[in-house]
Amino acid sequence: MSAVVEFEKVVAVAGSFPVLTGLDLRVAQGEVILLRGENGAGKTSFLRSCAGLISVSSGDAHVLGFDMRVDRRAPRRYIGLLGHENNLYRDLWVREHVEFRAAAVGAAESDTDAALLRVGVPKQLWSVPIGSLSAGQRRKVAIASLVVGRPRLWLLDEPHASLDSESRENLDVILAEASQLGATIIFASHESPPTNGIASRVITMGGGRVLEDSGAS
C-alpha cells in the first residue's frame, strides 16, 4: 500500500512552543488510525500538520505525495478536516451550507441530499438556520459537509463529540465504508471502546511524538 502520510523526525512549533518533537509515522492508504494520548500529547497538532495548518520546522513530511515543506496547501483539496469546532456558517440553512461545501469541491447538488441523509439529518431540518440546531445536530451537519467532499484523507478530532450513541455508530459505519473505498482516516479520540472497533491501528502519542504504535513491525 502507498503511504498517504509519511512523517520522519518532524518538528513543528506553534508560537514558540514545540508541538511535534521528532514525530516518526507512516500511514498507508486505507488505514483507519486511532490517535490516543493525554491532553497536550500532540494529537491535534499532528492532525493540523497533516492538513498543512501548522508548518513543519524540520524533518521530512509528505501528505498524499506532496512535500509539506515545499507547499503545505497543495494536498488540501483532497483532505477533509473536522476539528473541535464545526466550521459552520451559523446563519445559513443546513442545506445551503452543505450545498456550498459541495459546490466548493465540485460535487453534484444531488450529493448534498445524499450526504445529509447519510449522516442522519432529517429533511425537516434542512431549511433551518444552523445556529438554531442542537450541538449534536450541528456536528452531524459538519460531518455531512465532509462526506459530500469524498476526501481521500479524513482528519478528525474527536468526531464523536456531542453525538448520541446511534449517531456514533452511524459515523463509524460511514468511516468504515470510506476506508473500504480507499480513503485513509486518522482520528483522535478519548472515547472508550467500541470506538476502537473501526480502527485498524492505534497510536498513542505523548510529548509531540509517537509513544506506542499497535501497527509497528
Binding site: R73, R76, N86, N87, D91, F100, A104
Partner: protein, 231 residues
C-alpha cells in the same frame, strides 16, 4: 464562447463565494437591520451637529456622505471576516478547494454589493436631509462605483490580515481608516463637483479611486493566499 467564459473556474468560484456571503447576510440581516440604520443615524447626528444649517450641509454633503460610508463600510468589512472566523470557520476557509484569488474576488464582490446598497440608502438620506441638488449624475454614479470598488478590495485585503488576530475587533478599524482615508478624500471631492458646490477636477478624483482599487486588486490577487495562510 460566452458560455465557456462563464464556466471558467475563477469566475464560477468567485460567484460561489459571493453568493454564499450575500446569503449569510440576507439570513442574518445585520447589514440591513443594523449597519444601514446606524449609518443613517450618523447623517442625522451630523445634521444636528451642524445645527441644521442648510447652506453648510449642502456644502459639506459630499464629505459627510463618505464619512458615513466609511463608518458603515468598516462595520460591513468587519462583519465579512467575523463570519469566516466564527465556529472555527477560518480553518475551513484555509482548507477550501477554492483558489485564493477567487476567495479574494468573491468576498470583494459580496462587499461591493453590500456597500453599494448602503450607499443607496445613504444617498437617499443625504437627498432628504441635506437638500442637495445633483448637477452631474454621471460623475456622481461613476465616483460612487469607483469608491465602492476601492472600499471593497481594500477592506478584504486588510480584513484578511487581521482575521487571525484576537484583537481584530479594534485593530481592523485602526488599520483600515488610514488606508481608506484617500478614498474618502477623493470621493468627497468628486461628489462636491457632482453636486455643484466645487468647480474642481471631479473626474480626476474619481479616476484616482479606480487607481487605488486597481492597485489593491492586484495586490489582493497576488497576496491573498499568503495573507490567509500567515494571518
Amino acid at each position: 464562447m460566452e458560455a465557456a467564459y462563464w464556466r471558467t473556474p475563477v469566475l464560477a468560484e468567485t460567484l460561489l463565494v459571493a453568493r454564499k456571503d450575500l446569503r449569510v447576510e440576507w439570513r442574518a440581516k445585520v447589514a440591513l437591520g443594523q449597519v444601514a440604520p446606524l449609518a443613517l443615524l450618523i447623517l442625522v447626528v451630523l445634521a444636528f451637529a451642524l445645527d441644521a444649517n442648510s447652506s453648510l450641509l449642502e456644502l459639506g454633503a459630499g464629505g459627510l456622505y463618505w464619512v458615513a460610508v466609511l463608518y458603515g463600510g468598516t462595520l460591513l468589512i468587519q462583519r465579512s471576516f467575523d463570519v469566516e472566523t466564527d465556529d472555527g470557520n477560518m480553518d475551513a476557509f484555509r482548507m477550501s478547494a477554492i483558489g485564493a484569488p477567487s476567495l479574494f474576488l468573491g468576498k470583494s464582490l459580496a462587499l461591493f454589493v453590500q456597500i453599494g446598497l448602503l450607499e443607496l440608502v445613504l444617498g437617499s438620506g443625504i437627498a432628504l436631509l441635506y437638500n442637495v441638488r445633483v448637477t452631474d449624475w454621471v460623475l456622481l454614479f461613476v465616483a460612487a462605483v469607483a469608491g465602492t470598488v476601492a472600499f471593497s478590495v481594500c477592506g478584504v485585503l486588510w480584513g484578511v490580515m487581521s482575521a487571525g488576530l484576537r484583537v481584530r475587533a479594534t485593530l481592523l478599524p485602526l488599520l483600515l481608516v488610514p488606508v481608506l482615508a484617500p478614498i474618502l478624500l477623493a470621493g468627497s471631492r468628486a461628489f462636491e463637483t457632482a453636486l455643484g458646490v466645487r468647480a474642481d477636477a471631479g473626474w480626476t478624483w474619481a479616476s484616482l479611486m479606480f487607481v487605488i482599487a486597481a492597485i489593491h486588486t492586484a495586490i489582493g490577487l497576488g497576496a491573498f493566499g499568503f495573507l490567509l495562510e500567515e494571518g
